[in-house]
Structure formats: structure tokens, C-alpha cells
Amino acid sequence: MHKTKLQTIYFSLLVAFICVLLPWSGTALKLRPDFVLLVIIFWILRAPNKCNIGTAWFIGLWVDLATGGVFGQYALAYTVTTFVAVIYQRRLVLFSNTQQLVYVLLLLIISQLTLLTVKIFSGNDVLGWSYFLPSITGVILWQAAVALGLNTSRPSRSK
């Protein structure tokens, strides 16, 4: 079992963040999966002692900055989501691919729900069901990554 390097984690997060920064617009923006959260979930499965709630919170702040919203919204959403991911991490890695997929979908929806709650509290409208489309595309992306050979079922025994 190979060790996961810290640089690998940060590099992948950086790449995911650049994906968020891409000039999305129109339908693509509505469908845009949450790249950063997917990468965080992946690393929480693989290397829970290197990528944890703190990492998620920190990168959440940068996503907040990129979206131009109030500081802390994405940070909170990622914190809550990674918490759920972390407490089930040991079971999660033993799940079959389908089970894992359902669980990832659940995590993505939790993140969006948290964000929605915060937004509604600050006076925004509810956007309708299309708001949850990024969760679906996120799962599709996850499945695509697994199909391309990304190993999500075995954590690296680092340290």
C-alpha cells in the first residue's frame, strides 16, 4: 500500500478549485458538479488523517471567495458534509461501488442542503428542484472516475 503524499492531496484540491473557477455559464453552471467537495470526499476515504474537516473548512473558504458570497457558507457546508463522511469513513471504504455511490450522493445533498439553509436564512429564494442537479452530476462524475480506475474502496495505510 502506497503512502498518500500531502502534496498530492493539495495538488488535486488545487486542480478541483481551478475547475470551479472555469468560466461556467448558463446550463453548464446549473449542472456544474461540486468538484472540490468530491475531491475532499475522496481523500477522506483514502487518507482520513491527512485530509479532514479542517482541510474541508479551509478550502471551503476559498470557494466562498470564488463565489463572491458571504464568507463561511461553503466552509460550513463542507464542514458538516465532511463530518458525516468522517464518522462513517471506516464503513464507507468497505462498501460496494453502488453503496458508495448512494452514500456520495447523500453527502453531496447534505452539502447542498446546508448551503440552502444558510442562504434561506440570509433572505434568498428557494431555487426549485434544479438546485440539486449538481449532486446528480457529481455522482456521475464520481462513477466516471471510478470507471476510469480511481480506487475508492481501500484507504492507504499511511503513517
Binding site: L14, F17, I18, C19, V20, L21, L22, P23, W24, S25, G26, L29, K30, P48, N49, N52, I53, G54, W57, G60, L61, W62, L65, A66, T67, G68, G69, V70, F71, G72, Q73, A75, L76, T79, V80, F83, V86, I87, V118, K119, S122, G123, N124, D125, L127, G128, Y131, R157, K159
Partner: protein
Amino acid sequence: MAGYHQNLDQQQAPAFFARGPSPLARLAFFSALSLALMATDSRLQYLGSVREHLMVVLQPLQLIANAPSVLYDSTSEYFSTHHRLLNENQFLRKQALVQAISLQKMKALTLENTNLRELLAANQSLEEFSQLGEILHVGRDPFTKKIIVNRGSNQQVVDGAAVVDAKGVIGQVTRTYPASSEVTLITDKSLTIPIQIERNGLRAIAFGHGRDNTLDLPFLPANVDIKRGDKLITSGIDGVYPKGLAVATVTDIQTSADSPFARIVCIPTGGIENHKQVLIVSISQPDNPASTNAATQQPGNADIATKAAAPTKPDAAQSPASKVPENKTPAVPVPATENLNQHKKPANPTPAVVTEPSTTHKPHAQD
């Protein structure tokens, strides 16, 4: 055996399972931190400068992210057909001719107007300063309608400046960063814009609808004189938007017996989704050094500006064109259709109702 069990109970978790603070503790800590940040950012406005500095860090990443689309644009432009270019060229030449004529008329009118004003000793109308910006990307927050343009505080873009495109008003600058600024579109829920019905001069305030790309005209009585197809133009009484720019067209009016108000839906005329270039127009305040910029573009106008400003503002009269930094992006001559030709048109001349530029933007409802 019993001793073994006891031993197992007492012993610490092995190093393999050691994970530092429990997830729950981390959750509590970071959630509290996020909530505190949210409260600080939305209520106390301490983090504005922090955000600006961090945006500078983000800039190179943004450049990398934009590179593919920029590359695509430039290559597709390179391979565009000869025929298309010729057509476009012809069209543009025609348009330039038409606009040159109206611009000449404009000059004469401006001169006449300022002279008349001098005669009346009326207050000089505000001079406008405009520059061309390019849309970098659409705002990433699905809850708000925003775009990011590539002009920032380094280019003298100020908070509250109006943003227009070739067809009409599209929004207002709500946040400036050093090299970019955030424009809230008029369809955003938190943005309002004072308008006037072109047909009868009726004044009202249009609110962004938020969810779809429409505007609402609330609080107008059911018997209000507005018809389907009416054009809304800016009234200029806010001191933010230049007067007379197209804003929207009324598409639907509904009255119901149980409400004293009509429900009026309008569609913005500005092509928010269609264009890459926008014009950032700020009505310069008396203490704003940018005020002379627009005037420097055309020597004739500069004369007018300084001469006309003399009766009311002696300090403005001595502001020479050389005050403007040389490297500053010049005010761009107006592209496309004719309503933009009015960008040098005097804004509302009644200072009594001119309010702070920020009034149409409610900062607490930004998100």
C-alpha cells in the same frame, strides 16, 4: 482472561486509530468558526479588505482557469471565414457612419445645452465617465445574478457604477477588486432601479425578480397606465444610472380583484447572457478625479466641461486634462446602437433628488 479484558478497556486507542480531536469536536469548532465568519462578513463589513487581498492571490488561478476559453475564442476568431469578416466589416462601417452623424448632432446639442444652462445659471449636470469592460465569467453563486468584469479599482471603477451593454442597462458594480469587479445584474433580487415609462413618463422602481431573468414593477395601482410592450428607461433620479437608457420591456400585466396592485412583469432589454463586452458608466462626483477623464477624450468637450462647470464649481474649472493619469484606460467611444450614444448626455440636472449611488443597492441583501 479477565485481566486481558481489563487491560483492553484501559488502554488507549492504538496509534492506527488515533485521529486527533474527535470529529464532533472538529465539527463544533469549524462550524462555530464559519458562523462567526458569516456574521462578521454580512453584518459588520470588516472583511471587505481581506477579501480584496485574497482576490489578488486568486487572480493567477483565475487566469489559468480562463485560459482555455480565451484560447478557444482567439483560435476560433483566427479561423473565422473571410466572408464573415467582410460582412461584419461592412456592417460596422455603416454603423460607424450612422453613429458619427448622430454624434455630431450630439456635440452641437451638448454645446447648446450647456450654454442654455449657463444662461439659466442652473447647476451643471453631472459628467459621465465610461470604460469598456469584458465579462470574465458569470457569478458562481446560483442564488444571485452576478457577473465578473475585468475592470477593477485599478482602473477607477467605483462601487455603484452603472453597467450597460449595447442594448440597455444590465446592472451595477457592487464590489470592486483590484483587477476585476463584481456586477450585480438588474435581475438580481437585491437590486432595484428607478425607471420611467418611455410613453408617458410615469416613474416607478423596478425590482429584480431573482429566479428567472425578469423584472417586477411592484406597488403600482391596478389602474396604472402601463401597457404590454411599454419600454422602461432609466429615470436618472438616483444619480447612478444615466438618464434615458433602455432597461426593460413590459411583457405581462395581471390585475386581480383581491389585490390593489397590478402584477407587472418586464424583460430586460440588455442582453445579459449574450455579450462579452459591457460599458461601465460612473457619474462622477464633484470630488472624483475621474470626472475629467471623459472630457479629455474630445478636446471640444473638455472645453465645455470646464467652462460650464465654472459658475457652480470653481475648483472643477481649474481641473486640467493633465490631472488624469496617462496610463489610464481611455473612455471608450460608444459601440453599437443609438441609446448608448447618450452616454455623454447630461444626467439628471436636479441635484435635490440625487441620492448616494449606493441607494439602489441594498448591501445587507447581497447574498
